[in-house]
């Protein structure tokens, strides 16, 4: 018997094809999922980079300040000791110690070269102050230093550092908000697309029910289709986003003060969470839409 059944190898292939193909909706869904994934890559970059920034400025390194003693040479030692005494009794100061001449040389070397005759120069003494995580009251300290050691000047970094940390944390927060919004928009978009597909295929659903299809059979066909679309769109968008991030100019070279905008080290793994996450969002959004519609189309 000349009977060719090209699509009848297994019954699952029928299940895969019960939802009629709709090129336009499919392409539109993939495109939107791709765009959302692309945006997610950047929101992720923003969050991670600003997180690094906040950590750097708020971290141990940044919790140091310096007291500079510039006094006539016969008073330097006394004023240094006086300043150290004041610092030792200041709440919020974890430790304070005067840098020795070797350390001062190391600090100055980038500017003046290694052959600096440091002993013959009237350099101020530098006291490194490490504050506790609570910090100290800069104004109060300044007043007390002025009383005990008139040549002492407090270089307080917190004045410019704190707003930067706040700004960085805000930016990171905004990045996270963006990620949440992107997730929500993706879910809404997939729900709308799935709803449209379900509505357009009312006849298919009716026929399937007449031959004994349960909701799970019908729903899973739609869920499969939209999960695959969400996944493939997100894969494309993520790859495009990663390429764009990789092509960002490297700010690292121009100075470590600003952190690079891209991903660093293990952070490159984060974007690879986006496609499976998009697939999961598509899965649940379509399941939600399908369950609702199938209940209504009783």
């Amino acid at each position: 018997m000349a009977l060719s059944l090209p699509f009848l190898k297994t019954d699952t292939t029928i299940h895969d094809r019960i939802v009629p193909p709709s090129g336009f909706t499919a392409r539109l869904t993939i495109l939107t999922a791709g765009a959302m994934a692309f945006l997610a890559v950047f929101a992720l970059t923003l969050s991670l980079a600003t997180g690094r920034l906040a950590e750097r400025w708020g971290g141990e390194l940044a919790r140091s300040s310096t007291v500079r003693i510039s006094a006539p040479s016969d008073q330097v030692a006394a004023q240094t000791q006086a300043a150290l005494d004041v610092l030792a009794t200041t709440p919020g100061v974890q430790s304070a110690r005067a840098l020795d001449s070797e350390e001062e040389r190391a600090l100055l070397e980038p500017w003046f070269g290694p052959s600096l005759p440091i002993d013959t120069l009237p350099l101020p003494v530098l006291i490194e102050v490490i504050e506790t995580s609570d910090g100290y009251d800069a104004e109060g300290l300044r007043l007390r230093l002025a009383g005990e050691a008139p040549g002492a000047v407090l270089d307080d970094h917190t004045r410019w550092r704190k707003p930067l940390v706040v700004a960085a944390n805000r930016l990171r927060f905004l990045g996270v908000i963006c990620l949440i919004l992107i997730t929500g928009v993706t879910a809404a978009m997939i729900t709308l697309a799935a709803n449209a597909a379900l509505a357009a295929n009312g006849q298919v659903i009716r026929v399937l029910r007449l031959v004994g299809a349960k909701d799970s059979y019908i729903a899973s066909a739609f869920i499969r289709q939209f999960t695959l679309r969400g996944l493939s769109g997100a894969l494309i968008g993520t790859v495009m986003g990663l390429i764009s991030v990789a092509l960002l100019p490297n700010t690292q070279a121009s100075g470590g003060f600003l952190t690079g905008l891209g991903f660093q080290g293990f952070e490159w793994l984060w974007p690879f969470v986006i496609p499976p996450f998009a697939a999961a969002v598509s899965f649940f959004a379509t399941r939600f839409a399908a369950n609702r519609t199938l209940k209504r189309l009783m």
Partner: protein
């Protein structure tokens, strides 16, 4: 198998069928006749729970049809093969795939040899790869019959299965239904065709139900 208990049904408040009490036994062969618009299709829809009665009770396979879940409805339909008056298919799938659809829906494995035999049985071997839209009216009805019986259901319901086919093909389709009945299936056929009923009576024990005045009457032995 199918039990009606003082059932009434009406579209939009007006009763189309009332006071219907009957019981169709396993292995029986019934014809359903009546003028166009009398409610034959409506009665059959009550039999596979496409419709719920507005009054009274229906039991299918011993199960009350009121307040059952959609999954239970699906299970009922798997035990009932239906040839609808307007044979509906998935228009983007081939005829063979449409006929095999109940198997896929029920998660049953497909036996290609079986399917091939079934398609030959209804004379559609040459049309397996065609789309439903490419079939003639009679071919659609044969495809619908094949789809209705592929799961080997306990009950076969056919709504005007010979409406679009010539006499020879009518006899052939009837022969298929009689064979199914001989295999122990309960068969219900809605038809206007008295010749067909007479033809069947010469081969199997049949009963004729006639819808008149919103009620179903058991027609006399002689037609």
């Amino acid at each position: 198998m199918i039990e009606f208990n003082n059932v009434a049904y009406g579209y939009g408040g007006r009763d189309l069928l009332t006071e219907i009490s009957l019981s169709l036994n396993p292995g029986s062969f019934h014809f359903l006749t009546g003028p166009s618009g009398a409610g034959k299709t409506t009665f059959l829809k009550l039999c596979y729970r496409e419709l719920e009665p507005t009054a009274g009770q229906i039991h299918l396979f011993g199960q009350a049809t009121r307040d059952i879940t959609r999954d239970q409805v699906a299970e009922l339909r798997r035990k009932t093969g239906v040839v609808h008056q307007d044979c509906k298919f998935l228009d983007h799938l081939s005829v063979a795939e449409n006929i095999a659809m109940p198997l896929s829906v029920a998660g049953k494995p497909m036996d290609v040899a079986n399917l091939t035999e079934l398609m030959a049985w209804v004379g559609l071997s040459e049309r397996a790869d065609a789309l439903p839209a490419e079939l003639s009216g009679g071919e659609r009805q044969r495809a619908a019959l094949a789809r209705a019986v592929i799961m080997s259901p306990d009950v076969v319901i056919a709504d005007e299965p010979t409406g679009n086919v010539d006499w020879d093909m009518s006899l052939r389709l009837l022969q298929l239904l009689i064979e199914l009945n001989r295999m122990g299936k309960t068969v219900i056929i809605a038809t206007h065709d008295m010749h067909l009923i007479r033809q069947a009576k010469s081969q199997v024990q049949t009963r004729v139900l006639r819808i008149a005045n919103r009620r179903i009457q058991q027609a006399g032995v002689d037609l």
